[in-house]
Amino acid sequence: MMAKLVKETEHPLFRRSRKQHTERIGRGLTFAAVLMTALLTAAIFFLVFTKGISTFTVNGGSVKQFFTGTSWNPGRQTGSGQPIIGALPFLAGSLAVTGLSAILCTPIAVGAALFMSEISPKSGRTILQPVIELLVGIPSVVYGFIGLSVVVPLLRDHVSGSGFGIAAGTIVLSVMILPTVTSLAFDAIQSVPRQLREASLALGSTRWQMICKVILATAKPGLLMAVIFGMARAFGEALAVQMVIGNAAVLPHSLFEPASTLTSILTMGMGYTVLGTAENNALWSLALVLLLMSLVFTLSVRWIGRRKRR
């Protein structure tokens, strides 16, 4: 390997050292990893985008109908030859489930985070840390199955209807996003500078006043970020929701009636459609909406983060 004839320009002093060599290789490898990730993201975006708009460009669906129509049957056509693609029921279902689980989950998550950080760090952390880690590790199909076997019958027997619906989906999703929101909220509360706490106590505030007026106020952007992350997860969750929401393509008018979300329609329909047909393209359009929504969530998190630093 080393025993080559030495040319003049390759005098040992001119030659790159081994360390420099590994340095270059390392830089090359890591850059390749970054490039790969960026290319993958771009490719996914490109694919979903081109497929997603073909419903409107190739099959002649109307964008207005897509966002306002209430009947969904992309295999059939209206009198004027447009595929029937009213996705409003799923949009409403997705937003309802996401919003409601955020509302249900936030107080619990923030409360738990406060307890761990301010009230009783020792016992809080010994109990909650393993619980949170455990909850994160449970696969979504298990959540869905528990929802189907426990939550749905419970709602059916004690509330009304068949038990399938937005309420069941909300309950399952709230438990699913609880660990995410709790740990992020905990980080946000932890990052409140100690001087602020001590200053407020020195001014004579009680611990409760300090928590309400100082800590929560200071950590607000961080808490908001935690909730949005949780919502992004809830919005994209497919399997667990599909198992308990009932998948009826109707505009939800009650929490206890079967409804559907963008994700549940996607997972249900993919195996039954033929690539390139209007039915399949319509599903891609739903995927595009999901992708854009997740983009909105990500951007809003970044925007809040930027504002926080000012």
Partner: protein, 304 residues
Amino acid sequence: MKKRNRLSFAAAILLCAGLSAACSSSKAEQSEGGADAKEPAAEASGNITAVGSSALQPLVEAAAQQYSADHPGAVINVQGGGSGTGLSKISEGAVDIGNSDIFAEEKDGIDASKIVDHKVAVVGMGPVVHPDTGVEDVTSEELIDIFTGKLTNWKELGGADQEISVINRAQGSGTRATFEAFGLDGNEPMDAQEQDSSGTVRKIVSETPGAISYLAFSYFDDSVTALKVNGVSPTKEEVETNNWEIWAYQHMYTNGEADGLAKELIDYILSDDVQDTLLPEMGYLPVTGMEVERDAEGTIEKTK
């Protein structure tokens, strides 16, 4: 430190490469060994993939398993994915066999002239209800009224005072297409709950008071009540004479004429051996026992 890292990295890569090479070579040896072992040259060996209908999947899997046991050189991969997937993959020529529970002519976007149909079995389907509805026999009109939402309570049919809750299979499911065409006479059911697998449908119907849905005969059990329609029971005999009209062929499509291992497998499934023993065991009806024949338009012809 650094050197050791690099060494271990290289070792890991070598290990992976070695493992995959070993795997592939052992596979190759196996299939060669199998081909040499006892099969005459006329026997097809090799590797084929069958994709599509989840209703047909268990049968093809079981048959493929039996076939491979007798012919060690044959490797048959069976996958689900739905009839739509089966039909589109076979017309693209991406797989060797496309399984479907509807005629290719019935599916939009499929050029049925390019692919060849092999009907390998028949599946009967029927409406099922929760055991406590108190209704066991409905007329065709009542069935249509239930699924289109005109009837909303079982007491209107002389059953319990219980709201009817309709459960559909997903749009594009072969079972749903068959039930709509022959059970509901082509009427669109109302927008109601949808579930994407027969197993889930059975679970939900057995647990939800007042629920009604439809299942293939192979999914019937004691947890749900199978309805009679117009006094006819959903049984094998009634399907064979077409007194029970809600049934569908199970198709295995090939791109062009079947040849090689794909042909061997389809012939094997059509052999008396499989048709008379394996099929009834798994809840399918032998295609050989049918006294009528139906084409893609739904026209019935008596054959026996």
